[in-house]
């Protein structure tokens, strides 16, 4: 089976524009959540786009365009694509797509009638618009499509890209996730289903946790066939060692209390990677700060990792930036790779009062140096979505 490597990363998150900014600020303990939301305040569309480009892309597509530009430059692709463009794909996940565009056009429909609904409505709101934008911007003519699996979409996109390369459908894929759903309808809808934190605080695994905090952003990784990447002398950031995807088939918004489906996805990812739980040096948790997720995820980790679950350091990126929904898995994969490479494990912020029932090592409040004597820099990154979708990546940084 072909190995798939990561040669470039990019991110736009509430912590700032840039993947390095995400790692550095999270590791420094900066929490980007303000007024109960993780907004990308440092992202200004006019810094990156012409008027035409900006109005031809919903914010969710704008975010992934900026992250993809960074990732391609990081991979050394800024001037030229290294392979035949028909051998390079774009697979971008999202939870919701262009909901800001949908809401604006729905207002037009109600207030001014159907004749004034914008001709740009469809191309901006469609869930595949992020993948389309990345493909067009960079001239990628291989397989491109969107992945929709709620809060697991970013991880599924990376897993799907890995498989496309392994199977030979593409030599490289620009993969990631993006979301811009800080809109009135989306806020009201997530609040109605009791998923959002009424206090507006993200504190995964804390006994006081009361829901997630919504965030926005995008994460992108350039994935390449390892052999091709080596042949062109690329710098290798990491290897995607394994991927596991399962479903709960249990309830549309809740995992089973024992996290069985999540555990199966973790186990599958480790099998795919040919890695044992003892080899893991870090877990990037889904860690949403909802009472039910953090309990079920803890149960899943105990079940899948056995004794190693009690000692392996675990932390949640969502404690610093909130829950980026369909972008979360991609941003967290980027954060995991950079943490391993820096040998600094960023903390679970806000975790001041541990839940007695959640007794693992969640790296509370402050970063920790990662000491790896002579072992490998192996980690897993978990993502679980409404609908019972579970996706887990096993990553090895270099």
């Amino acid at each position: 089976m072909k190995q798939v490597v990561v040669t470039g990363v990019g991110a736009v998150t509430p912590l700032g524009v840039g993947a390095a900014t995400l790692h550095e600020r999270w590791a420094a303990g900066v929490c980007a959540i303000k007024d109960g939301e993780g907004r990308c305040d440092e992202f200004v569309a006019t810094d990156h786009f012409t008027v035409k480009e900006a109005r031809r892309a919903d914010r969710f597509a704008q975010l992934v365009l900026v992250a993809s530009r960074e990732a391609l430059a990081d991979a050394g692709w800024a001037d030229d694509l290294p392979y035949d463009s028909r051998r390079i794909g774009a697979i971008i996940g999202t939870g919701i797509g262009g909901i800001g565009t949908i809401e604006a056009n729905d207002r037009t429909l109600i207030e001014q009638g159907p004749k004034l609904v914008s001709p740009l409505a469809v191309p901006l709101m469609m869930g595949n618009a992020g993948a389309a934008a990345v493909s067009m911007r960079h001239g990628l003519r291989g397989p491109s499509y969107g992945v929709v699996s709620a809060c697991a979409a970013g991880t599924h996109a990376i897993g799907s890209a890995m498989r496309a390369i392994q199977y030979g459908d593409a030599t490289a894929v620009v993969a990631g996730g993006t979301e811009a759903a800080l809109t009135p309808l989306s806020r009201a809808a997530f609040a109605a289903v009791d998923a959002l934190s009424p206090t507006g605080i993200s504190r995964p695994f804390d006994v006081r946790r009361d829901g997630f905090v919504m965030g926005e952003g995008a994460g992108v990784l350039v994935l390449e066939d390892a052999e091709a990447a080596h042949a062109r002398g690329a710098r290798i950031l990491a290897t995607i060692r394994g991927y596991g995807a399962t479903s709960d088939a249990f309830h549309i918004t809740a995992p089973p209390p024992d996290g069985e489906g999540a555990a199966a996805a973790i186990t599958r990812a480790l099998e795919d990677a040919d890695v044992t739980p003892d080899q893991l040096v870090y877990v990037n948790a889904h860690g949403t700060s909802t009472p039910i997720n953090d309990r079920a995820e803890t149960a899943a980790l105990k079940s899948a990792l056995g004794e190693r679950a009690r000692t392996v350091p675990i932390s949640s990126t969502k404690s610093a930036i909130g829950h980026l929904l369909g972008a979360a898995g991609a941003v967290e994969a980027v954060a995991t790779i950079l943490a391993l490479r820096a040998r600094v494990l960023p903390p679970t912020l806000g975790l001041e009062q541990p839940d007695p029932e959640l007794d693992l090592d969640y790296v509370p409040l402050v970063s920790r140096e990662l000491v790896v004597a002579d072992g490998k820099l192996l980690a897993i990154s978990n993502s679980f979505g409404f609908g019972g979708h579970n996706a887990v990546l096993c990553l090895e940084a270099t």
């Binding site: 012409t50 008027v51 035409k52 480009e53 109005r55 031809r56 004749k115 004034l116 914008s118 001709p119 740009l120 191309p123």
Partner: protein
């Protein structure tokens, strides 16, 4: 609806093209829409605006005949009579 003047039509069209991202300095009666980077989606939006402002309904066939900014102004002026 009173008949719009050429100046009024020109202003609405010019403002729309600027909104779409065209370079204001490049817009003139003789400027070709293609050179202004105006494509089919922009023209669909322009048609909506012209219908709303002047009550002029332009079909896809009408729009296909428009090559320059002046063509668009003249067509709307003709139809608005």
């Amino acid at each position: 609806m009173t008949q719009p003047t050429i100046d009024q039509i020109e202003k609405v069209i010019t403002d729309s093209l600027v909104t779409f991202g065209a370079d204001p300095d490049a817009i003139s009666r003789d400027a070709e829409l293609e050179a202004l980077d105006v494509d089919s989606l922009d023209l669909a939006e322009l048609s909506q605006i012209l219908e709303e402002q002047f009550g002029v309904e332009l079909t896809a066939a009408d729009v296909a005949e428009i090559k320059t900014v002046g063509d668009a102004i003249d067509l709307v002026a003709e139809r608005a009579k």
